[in-house]
Symmetry: C2
Subunit: 306 residues, 2 copies
């Protein structure tokens, strides 16, 4: 008997990853493609669909899970993605279904990763949590009573675009002062450059981290500022859905206590009394390399229940 | 055959209201008591429980719904209420059950009113919404996919305690800069007094409204400032649960377009593109006099489904 497996697709601006994920979160087979090698989304779905179809003799494929930028779960669409060469609205889930005959579920990458945390990561026994990715941007997914919050629009859970500094740094979304302009890896480097105008041209978040580890005052202040802004924003976030855990994922989260300590300090200093002692800030339990595939796969596995 | 009815209890610092609410939202019988007339919560539950028991020959009582300050639905408790003479944690739902033999459900008043909006008000066909009360404080309830968000602590949905002005006005919660210090009726009057130090001692929100209607510049600026702070806070709120509607309820909401116009203008100016056109700001459809009783009753009616 063939093992039940989900075909997981992680769609990025430069690469598309494909993985086959079983119910325990093992990635049984891997593949990857250049996004630009396909002439549009129909060709991409046909091409990767053919790779999926080719595994039908090895796996009992129960569905396709797709994590994509600006993905909308309600409609199965990718809508106006800034980093893909496809303008407008693409019904990517149905294109994959048409190419394979399999049911397909799609969501944005942060929502998918949040479900991955619930299914395969550190949230397996946690029913109310906030999942925040700190990478080149700040993404998030919100789980309430065991289910992902999609909201009326299907785009719920954009904590990175909460305005924390009215009139502040210009964001890619066209507004000013969004959280991600301050607490993404990019935002952290910007804060450091504001303080150290003659920083090396190639200074990145890892550089600032290493400078902080070496005791550099400006780098340490940068982590303090980042932790202050993120700690307050997360304390405010608790007032919406009252999570048991806030999971931090992504490149910046790998800075460990250098980042977590100031976040926790400002978080606790700003947390409403009734929430004190009810909520922890913890690193994600997802393996960084496979997180996107596990997230995409969980879109299908989650519907199956335990 | 007796009509199925919920006994609804609206517990306040000075008055306790009791109503008997049928499935269509009609309040078939009313009563009210001084909170201070009862010697503690056990006596209150026994006394009002006796009034409920006395209706068992008239109604098919299916349960008791209780709206209370600092009420916790998970535990059926009232916890450290600032405006009640009961310190600590009171298991009020079980006291009412013991006194009547009926199942009892309890939640904080804003959560209960949000469910009332869903069951009996303007949200009957709306599954994702934010309900905000603008009274002496700012309370809120959040509905996602048709259900109230309670969160891990049971205290989810405290939008009034999102910090919008770090280091700002001192709040009753002990922190500074909470939304309710600026956009409650009390906060609006404070904004007006900051601008008009010689305002009459008895100037209240109605006075400021009337001054604004008469064209007074400081009063109009006060509504503009209040709308700016609330409009931004609501736009930020959408990034969490992506509601279809934000309902505004309470004394201040009765200022109509004098308040709604600046709120909507600042809300739309600060709303992330992907949410534009997906969310409306509307007045509550609950009758102000019976809203608390309808909310309390809906805690039981909601569990029955449609």
């Amino acid at each position: 008997m063939l093992p039940p497996v989900v075909a997981a697709v992680d769609l990025g601006g430069t690469r598309v990853k494909l993985g086959f994920v079983d119910g325990s979160g093992s990635v049984l087979d891997h593949d990857a493609f250049d996004t630009g090698a396909f002439d549009g989304p129909e060709a991409l779905a046909r091409g990767i669909g053919a790779e999926i179809n080719a595994r039908k003799d090895r796996f009992d494929l129960i569905g396709i899970g797709i994590g994509a930028p600006n993905g909308n779960h309600h409609r199965g669409t990718v809508e106006h993605p800034p980093n893909l060469p496809w303008p407008g609205v693409t019904p990517l889930a149905s294109l994959f279904s048409d190419a394979t005959g399999l049911p397909a579920r799609l969501d944005n990458d942060a929502n998918a990763a949040a479900l991955g945390e619930k299914r395969f990561g550190a949230a397996q026994t946690v029913n109310d949590f906030l999942f925040v990715t700190l990478g080149t941007g700040v993404g998030s997914g919100i789980v309430v009573a065991g289910n992902l919050v999609r909201g009326y629009s299907g785009f719920a859970g954009e904590v990175g675009h909460v305005i924390v500094e009215p009139g502040g740094r210009l964001c890619g979304c066209g507004r000013r002062g969004c959280l991600e302009q301050y607490t993404s890896a990019t935002g952290l480097v910007k804060t450091y450059r504001d303080a150290v105008p003659d920083a090396p041209d190639d200074a990145d978040a890892l550089y600032v981290f290493q400078q902080a580890q070496a005791g550099d005052a400006a780098a340490r202040d940068t982590f303090e500022t980042t932790g202050r802004i993120l700690g307050l924003a997360l304390a405010n976030s608790v007032a919406y859905t009252s999570p048991e855990v806030v999971f931090l994922f992504g490149g910046l989260a790998e800075a460990g206590e250098t980042l977590f300590e100031p976040i926790r300090r400002h978080f606790n200093a700003n947390l409403l009394t009734i929430y004190q002692g009810t909520v922890a800030i913890r690193p994600s339990g997802l393996p960084s390399g496979d997180a996107a595939l596990l997230g995409a796969a969980s879109l299908v596995w989650h519907e199956r229940g335990r």
